[in-house]
Symmetry: C2
Subunit: 372 residues, 2 copies
């Protein structure tokens, strides 16, 4: 049984580890050599927009998945119509366009920040006025990890934001949400629409990038239940198959609002490798291949993941690894990237234990030591 | 940092998964194509007795290890004297010859079954008489999983056993031990002689082959403490570096005796992947590369591993996988072997939980479903 993956970053790498462990075969198609999957056989480097390349790659795959919502799943589906592609091109089209995504969630009556889709600078200024500053302005396509986003706090910043972020079809503008916490709910959904849901994760961003994830989330049970309800309905609303991560704002009054959707394994789910009976990567592989989904419950009392970002530019040396490995009860994951750059995702660490604050301290300490 | 592995079976495969996760590079040298490592780049197929092949392979490795005590570590050490090889050729020489192994443990005053090394059939008959039937007769070299062993219960069987098992330097004869339980204690030992020890595992063999491993062992604390003491001293007596598995007999009176030693990751340690903070494979990689050893404590209350052996001869189909994946809270590991044979080690399953009997039942059920 063979899983094809379009893309060669850390998400594909960790999906492959999970699939291989179950005895599945994995092959990759990447547009250029990719360090994180260089350890595997079965990597094809080629023009992944070329139908012939896609057809040859898909041949013999039982299913193909993508590592990022920007991989050419739609072209693969056209080139190799007999091979299942999950998430579906339709889901990817919805998720890629943040405006279309918001509209779909609105149709499904899912809670989200007030938003406007603005196709002209005039409409944009009017929306900012109606929503009230500050507003969050998002490029409709291609924004991630803070790239392609801006928070506008004063009217004088509107022109710059428009000039920087507007596409031919405008921008998405959202009310700024004074959240109490950010949460992530990860759902695996089978081809038949069956879902399993991971425990609610508390997440913390630094500079628009995932810094730490902690479970249990520390939120009241009612908020967690609402987060799960909203996440599952969100995944159904976008027709997700495989893993879908739903990032949510929790408000002081107990409401939760959908922030972002990623139809694939997600940085906020890395701690599932150690902390849950079935990792997000394994459940993603299972779902896209039509295999039964696995249990998502914690197999520990508390866990924390902290990202390891690059600090300097240049070739990676593992001088800091021995020191990080002395952190007790911490699993170190490095992604095999040969070049570091400031803020590049180089790896992560996960600590397990009994107390959320204590595991967080241990994970932070190990990540701090991993200067790459 | 690059780890070289001589051999391409499931132990190398799982060691590679652990090393890659930490961001290390892995390369394999195998005498013929090997299914279990076919998923990796960096596999060299070549004559591993050829000094040139060994030298080229070792070049650029920070350390080389072996997947089995029969791999040509000594030749590699000769061909590439600058590259650390662990376990050392000296340890491998000791462990390969079961008679030399027994003598070394005797010098170190370690408890083991009464034994004789017999170089002639006359001496063999005399030893059987002195030890008292039944006796266990072992080929000095090359015996494993019941191959190369015989239990002689009657005097009439002695001639057959001698004819079948004697090498030019004779056989090893041991008193048959009426054990209460078989235990495994896995030790990781660093180049500096630091050791970390895994919890004591209860093991069960079927037809001389590991069937199930359970932790906690259920043995009294005094027996566990003695098992740990004996295992650590055994590893020191053979100069082990990296992982060493020590299989022990526990007697009704609380004594423990050393049964077998394997200077590498071991079938009885597979449950450490899920059950312990650091798996046996990760600690093996760490130890041979001179990295700090990781914590060996359980991160669950109870765990059980059950082996998945082949049942028929022929190409592997994964038809049984979906059914096995529905077993709750069970991690399925298959080794990527393309051909099944009766009793071939095809994979294993590990269940985690709170109660040893309950996790065992779950693991047995999942393994039963995995008919390959």
């Amino acid at each position: 049984m063979t899983l094809g993956i379009l893309g060669g970053g850390q998400l594909g790498r960790m999906t492959a580890f999970a699939a291989l462990r179950m005895g599945l075969d994995v092959r990759f198609l990447v547009p250029e050599p990719a360090d994180s999957v260089a350890c595997f056989a079965g990597v094809t480097v080629g023009d992944w927009n070329d139908p012939d390349v896609l057809r040859r790659f898909a041949e013999g795959c039982d299913a193909v998945t993508v590592e990022s919502e920007w991989a050419p799943a739609d072209r693969l589906a056209d080139a190799a119509p007999g091979v299942p592609v999950w998430p579906s091109p339709e889901t990817l089209r919805l998720v890629r366009d943040k405006a279309a995504q918001r509209r779909r969630l609105a149709e499904a009556h899912l809670p989200q920040p007030p938003f406007r889709v603005c196709e002209s600078e005039g409409a944009f200024r009017e929306a900012a006025g109606a929503l009230g500053l500050p507003v969050v302005v998002k490029r409709r396509r291609g924004s991630y990890d803070g790239y392609g986003n801006a928070t506008v706090r004063q009217g004088t910043e509107l022109a710059v934001a428009w000039a920087r972020l507007a596409d031919t079809d405008g921008v998405l503008v959202e009310a700024f949400v004074p959240f109490e916490a950010e949460l992530s709910v990860i759902v695996a959904r089978s081809r038949d629409g069956e879902t399993v849901v991971y425990p609610v994760f508390y997440t913390e961003q630094r500079d628009h990038r995932c810094h730490a994830v902690v479970v249990p989330s520390g939120m009241p049970p009612g908020v967690e239940a609402e987060a799960v309800r909203v996440a599952v309905e969100t995944v159904e609303a976008v027709g997700g198959v495989g893993l879908v991560a739903v990032e949510l704002f929790a408000l002081p009054d107990g409401q939760v609002l959908v922030n972002e959707i990623a139809p694939r394994p997600h940085n906020t789910g890395h701690l599932t490798i150690e902390a849950c009976h079935t990792s997000q990567f394994e459940n993603h592989a299972r779902a896209v291949l039509g295999l039964p989904l696995g249990r998502t419950e914690l197999r520990t009392l508390a866990a924390c993941m902290v990202n390891v970002l690059g600090t300097t530019s240049g070739p990676v040396r593992l001088n800091a690894l021995p020191d990080a490995l002395t952190a007790p009860g911490v699993a170190v994951h490095l992604y095999g990237k040969r070049e570091s750059r400031p803020r590049r995702k180089m790896g992560h660490v996960t600590a397990l234990g009994a107390d959320p604050a204590e595991v967080r301290a241990r994970a932070e300490e190990a990540a701090r030591r991993l200067v790459l």
